[in-house]
Symmetry: C2
Subunit: 413 residues, 2 copies
Amino acid sequence: MTLRLDRDRLIATMEEQATYGATEDGGLHRLALTEADREIRDWFRDQLRAADLSVRIDEFGNIFGRREGSDPDAAPVLLGSHLDSQPNGGIYDGVLGVIAALEFIRTLDDKNIETTRPIEIVNWTNEEGSRFQPAMQGSGVWTGAHDIETERTKTDDNGVAFGEALDNIGYRGDVPAEPGTEYDAYLELHIEQGPKLIEADVDVGVVTGIVGFTWGAVTFHGEADHSGPTPMHHRSDALVAAADLITSIRRIPGSLGEQTVGTAGYINAEPNSINVIPGEVTVTWGFRDPNDEVVEQAYQRVLTEAKHAAEREGVNYETEERMRAPAISFPDRPVNAVQRAVNQCNYQSLELVSGAGHDATHLTSVCDTAMVFAVSENGKSHSPDEFTSWDDCYKAATVLANAALELANDVTE
Amino acid sequence: MTLRLDRDRLIATMEEQATYGATEDGGLHRLALTEADREIRDWFRDQLRAADLSVRIDEFGNIFGRREGSDPDAAPVLLGSHLDSQPNGGIYDGVLGVIAALEFIRTLDDKNIETTRPIEIVNWTNEEGSRFQPAMQGSGVWTGAHDIETERTKTDDNGVAFGEALDNIGYRGDVPAEPGTEYDAYLELHIEQGPKLIEADVDVGVVTGIVGFTWGAVTFHGEADHSGPTPMHHRSDALVAAADLITSIRRIPGSLGEQTVGTAGYINAEPNSINVIPGEVTVTWGFRDPNDEVVEQAYQRVLTEAKHAAEREGVNYETEERMRAPAISFPDRPVNAVQRAVNQCNYQSLELVSGAGHDATHLTSVCDTAMVFAVSENGKSHSPDEFTSWDDCYKAATVLANAALELANDVTE
């Protein structure tokens, strides 16, 4: 039997959360560990308590709510995402996953449904990574990918330490930031942040994994001469080499894979004056693909293209790979549970690999993990233009709930 | 008979001036109307007085020293350049022209040589345009190209007005900033700031004019999406369009003229984050050529290339021409005087068109103007690496002196 959520309550709760850190253009500005984050955390903690969940806050600020199962010793099913936003972000990103999990619990209570396994909801601290880096910081600490003491010393642009900011908003909890027990599964609902679902005209996305990526930078060193009297054949123009590389970064994905993407997102030129030939320019690369070998090929290609660009312009260069993350493939068990929930609801779905990282990335090291994607109407995110219809929010939440319900009652091990 | 300058005194005076605003790496940091500028002005005024010149300072801070001729009513010959420098500039740029003029006067005094025409030396205020824009401000006001009251209100990066800064260093003089009388000729000695003379292996440059130029900017408007989940075919990447245009700007001169140069010196990308597709990018163009028609062709070409680059990437764009200056051709009379001085000294010379603007640009509207270029050893300027050997300083100064002497005695009108 399919579990039906309360659509009106889901919408009302989404609208209520969107009032904390609301911007004039209908978006959210709710950076991690700011006053707006404290307010949404207070509100969220109250909602957990109102739903009779036992609330615990760990020493990194991750907030958990637990609903006991009929077998309190069974490994729990964990559901959640994040309540923080990008600067001037949208009202769905992350939050929808937390509110959907809350609506699931409320519905179980409404219908007096008991599950075998305990169910926990989580709000991970600082998923966005806008104010403090890295992104997915709370889940990274909790799963042991990052050291908590190191992360507490990270500072924002104003020199405020993460630990200081967390203490200031009163969300340094007393529970260790670690699983502490075995978990059965983690399910995360998130908006797609891309156009694949809307283009395929489906109801919901079944996420089978997360792409791998390489991030890095190339710095070209030329000669900063006066732009007037220096003949063209005497120039070593660092910006021309960088431009050459940027157009290569645009082309590389087209010769690698259907799902490969490549971006030059950042550029800095020195001295950056209309009247001076640029002497030093740094440009970044980012390549993503579901296949680690393709990511490696993209990395090798950008190194080759940087070399060619430097040679063509007669400049020196250096490269620095800043980050490499392997592709993640979710295990069959939770993915199949999501797919069965889709079928049960008679929804149309698309299997896809997430092009962005999520807290689920870290959770894969702790337990069976999968994700549900809600349709992004225009493929946009991190912007007030981000939009998912209430219908699509409801469908994705319903899939999450039914998949979670199956997992929470499945104790055949 | 060729006039011989005092080589040792010329060098000593160049070395002495270089102590005002000296940087640790042997360069100069002597921005207009700063304390270092006040000090070099005090020193220069003392040198003029010591040479028995009558000193006058105009209300825009331009400093003049006058040596009377045997016919005090004859139109004077004006010699000079500027004592201010770029941030971390070199010790020759501009200054050599002022010191060479001073050495000429001193030599005339040593040898008791009287000229028919009066001779005046000038230090123009703020040639560099680093602290206050535009460049060549003092000569621009003096020749009537700019309005003095408007220029006095221009502010530096700290909001200090030009007029306030000029008053603070005590160099707002009481003479109107205008010629006031007819001038016979203006000669300016400057380092080349390019490699043409050193490549031609000559002693000195005979400048026949100044290139024309167009300066402007193109802004591309794309879509700032998340760099992960946005497929390549969904992107409108403003930085890719800008990169496309930059490589075009590098190529355009090669299809226009032997002396055409083109530069993209400035770029700004938004939001400029490794993880976001650039949504808005501005890049500047600068094209120069001795022929105005070629400058116009370059302008039309950059507009066409901006259109193509925008179309290829599917972004919008807008262009703005910020400045257009016609090419200047110096009249034969002063150019021939410079060439005769070269021949008289048995020097090898190259005729060339200045690729950079100079105070001489403005002086052409007032009187017959020409320039002498000293060899730049590595073609560099606006840098502590700027270098002209004392031999080359002496040769260029000697040519300036002999050309000026001829003009100052030529009253056949």
